[in-house]
């Protein structure tokens, strides 16, 4: 099967993000010099500006919905069949923010609701981090 939706171009900087997901682990870039965790992955640390200490750390996968929207317009053609679809901005408990989607459904978005990551395999090489509402308080 092939995946027709946009993806960041694979680089040496972001490769570990995808490799980690492919191995069933959700990791964030973490500077080994100062401990700063950041997303998306970049060649340098946004805290101490180091280029030489960028590492990776597995994260819990838990977070909260900062907010979400339901896209009723198809701006990106490959999302046509999915429209209307939801996008949530999740704040991971370790700090970083990222965009994703809530698999529970467009009408289940609630700000501050606790969520946990769901690793969704879309091809044999590609796993995307999506989120689902957590059962109870996290």
């Amino acid at each position: 099967m092939s995946y027709d939706k946009p993806l960041p171009r694979f680089t040496s900087t972001n490769r570990p993000y995808w490799d980690s997901l492919n191995r069933g682990k959700f990791s964030m870039q973490c500077c080994e010099a100062c401990g700063h965790m950041q997303f998306p992955p970049q060649p340098s640390c946004a805290n101490c500006l180091s280029f030489d200490h960028m590492g990776w750390k597995e994260v819990s996968g838990r977070g909260r919905i900062w907010s979400g929207i339901v896209m009723h317009k198809t701006y990106i053609r490959s999302f046509g069949p999915d429209t209307p679809y939801n996008v949530v901005m999740v704040q991971l408990e370790e700090g970083p923010l990222l965009m994703s989607t809530l698999i529970d459904g467009n009408d289940r978005i609630e700000c501050d609701a606790p969520v946990e990551v769901v690793l969704d395999r879309v091809t044999e090489d590609l796993v995307l981090p999506k989120f689902k509402l957590s059962g109870g308080a996290s």
């Binding site: 939706k5 946009p6 993806l7 960041p8 171009r9 997303f39 998306p40 900062w66 907010s67 979400g68 929207i69 339901v70 896209m71 009723h72 317009k73 701006y75 990106i76 053609r77 999302f79 999915d82 209307p84 679809y85 996008v87 901005m89 923010l97 990222l98 965009m99 994703s100 989607t101 978005i109 609630e110 700000c111 501050d112 995307l128």
Partner: protein, 381 residues
Amino acid sequence: MRSLTPAAIVGVGNTNFHSMYRSPNPERSSYDLGVSALDAALDDCGMSKHDIDALLCMRIPSYEILADRIGIRRIRYSNYYVGDGRMSGIVLQHAVSLIQSGLATTVACVYGNNGRSASATYGGDVNLDGNQAYDQMFGMTSPGAYVSLMYRRYRHIYNAPDDSLAPLAINNRAHAALNGDAVMQTPITYDEYMASRYVAEPLRLFDYCLINDGGVAMIVTTPERAKDLKKKPVYVQASATAADLKNFYSSDDFFQKSTEMAAKDLYEASGLGPGDVDCLQIYDNFTPTILFSLEGFGYAPKGQAWQLVRDKSIAFDGDLPINTSGGHTGESYMQGWGHQVEAVRQLRGEAGARQVKDCNVVHYMCVAPLVLTHMLTNDLG
């Protein structure tokens, strides 16, 4: 800027947004639109293009080609500003700074946007190499969606109901209907607003800026030079900025902190505050930005602007006139240029059917990752 003599806006011009909207033309360029608007602005003040010694353009890609189109080869200074709405306020600030520093005397500020003819969608341009690819991979795109994210959270925190933006959308359309150049010439009702389709829910169609073609220009010069010209000068009494720069457009405090910083600077520098303001021109890429602006600038307590605009009249003849020419959802999406020009017209008493009575102070504000704001007056004294 604090103790320097304010510069004067002496000429303004714009294309007819309405007639252009009815006649998109794939050959229409941003240069064409900018040149038309500049011609109108020169006519407005009675200056010649040869009086111009600095050319600042926004969204028109090459200042060299623009200068060539205008036929002003030997000026002192020129620059281009990217087509981000926050830059419209920056262009005016820089025009003022060039004059106050003596680097120029008469600055032509020119904007051209052929978005409709060029089939712009303001969303969907996929960039696999940028940070936004991590958003686009989930279908997250377009500035409206990023503002909608903030607005949903704002509603959650402050218990603002689903119709909180209705007064803003309705107000813009009511004013546009009094503005012969506006794209939209008919008002909308509450029911029509609520029935309009969602784009990036919770934002509706009528919460979104238009996509249209247009050109706008302003001529800025010294108060001395202004005395000899056709119209009553409008002064940039003071101006301020503040930034909230990070990866996502959506700000976790709805730009409150940065807006408060800019507000403090502006009110101190101008000696004016919300109580002195006769009319507000508020950058409204999407209607929620108006709420964030009103709160950040202290017109309403945090979380209560949605009540203010519901309970007070924001019409040109009301308690707190906002966006009297129709704003970005009614007049035209000229990324703040239309708002700045409307401020000038109100202060000159040229706003016709939508004229605010005794209008002497207009507050322009643009809340974005760069906050831009000016106090404009019609009297130096």
